[in-house]
Symmetry: C2
Subunit: 299 residues, 2 copies
Amino acid sequence: MIKIVECVPNFSEGRNKEVLEAIAQQIKNTEKVRLLAYESDKDHNRSVFTFVGEPEGVKKAAFSAISKAAELIDMNEHSGEHPRIGATDVVPFIPISGVTIDDCVNMAKELGQEVADKLKIPIYLYEHAAIKPTRQNLANIRKGQYEGLKEAISKDPDRKPDFGPSSLHPTAGATVIGARMPLVAYNVNLSTNDINVAKSIAKAIRHSSGGLRYVKALGLEIKERGIVQVSMNLTNYQQTPIFRVFEMIKKEAERYGVEILGSEIVGLIPMNALVDAADYYLRIENFDKSQILENRLWE
Amino acid sequence: MIKIVECVPNFSEGRNKEVLEAIAQQIKNTEKVRLLAYESDKDHNRSVFTFVGEPEGVKKAAFSAISKAAELIDMNEHSGEHPRIGATDVVPFIPISGVTIDDCVNMAKELGQEVADKLKIPIYLYEHAAIKPTRQNLANIRKGQYEGLKEAISKDPDRKPDFGPSSLHPTAGATVIGARMPLVAYNVNLSTNDINVAKSIAKAIRHSSGGLRYVKALGLEIKERGIVQVSMNLTNYQQTPIFRVFEMIKKEAERYGVEILGSEIVGLIPMNALVDAADYYLRIENFDKSQILENRLWE
């Protein structure tokens, strides 16, 4: 079956188009990899690239992009509002199809080792790839940013990188590499204009106040339609699937005599998140994803 | 968005492996095409190949396979139980993703013209590609088979091919080319061992007795589980979607106090047939299939 990994590296450059084009070219030149988009923010002076492909290709493209960024971005001259510690700041690998989060953890570790060895950039492993539990949280790694880490990396044993030298690369700084699940932005629209209903349901379903583990939720007004919405980020659609979130909201809404009008998927979604919903509602027995014709295309 | 067409040609050879391998090689050698399977039946002396890919590649592979079959199969020496009129007997194009049935009709006509021009094989267009309404039905085209068509093709104006000469190719006979929707084999298991319930529901939902247009259905016993099943072929999942069939069976089963235990998808299914079910049950507003990450991979 086809194996697809997504990679969403963040680079500390959001203004110089030539630099960004040079990085994009590294990704485009890698076989079996497709650059889907890149977006820059001038105030943050930062850009986010999104590319997908087979695991080996994606790892290669990530290495090439990191090399090019190290060559062209000088952290000593960088300023911007967004926290950052390196030319290539953060590199997450994300399992899309035919690969597990553990496969992506392995990719992160292999890439980390390679970048440390060949480019002499210190590497911190984060999220699912974290070796030190405190490094699951990106904010802990970026504390003090580039300027602060410069001293701390050699002096504070807690800030020692997972791979590479205990000193920042003279221009490229340090890089965070890891693995995380795809994020699904999912909203559910309700048949009421009462914002309290949306807020109460959001509170019931989100992890932070006792709800489902991988749900972040807010109640919002959609004024132009005269309705309210439960607006969510689903941070692990495999363990907290969309259909369970939908059904739980439906049940909670009943309590207020409110119906679900519809739902919205914002941006991209992995095919499997939708296939899992079909599998659930159609009660399919022993379904194997290799029965999906598209999965046979490039196995 | 990615464009995928499936092609399932039938060849009048089910015994000689060298011939079949030579045909398979033509398909395998075509860029952007993937041969998924081929199956032979010795009694029928016939083989079915399944390949998929981008439209241009699929058309090219089909032409190469037809050429090779014309070179290696002599219909004057062919015998087998299955009706047939040519070395390449039937070639359907099937829309899977990013293409319509009309796109496949155009592919069928272009391929038909090319085969007639270059190989001098008479071509009949069938199903959605049929120009003469009677040719929507394959059985009408194959009437009298190879042996009978030999005379009829030149004498009976009704048997004149849509492209090519009004005489059979001396060894390859004639070929039927067309377009059809993918077939989905779908079964629903019921919480009863009463075969009459399955038969009544099958009768209610199938086209032939007044039900949904693109449903063929039978009631069957699954003895080892002590249950019954509605066994179906869905011949157009876009116009008669799986979720509607499932919900209609659920409703009909209620009448007998019977529940749906589960359902089965037999063999391959296009991703979109499942995505449509997720879209329905999750009530997604304005969903665009280009939001599915996998659809961005090879656009």
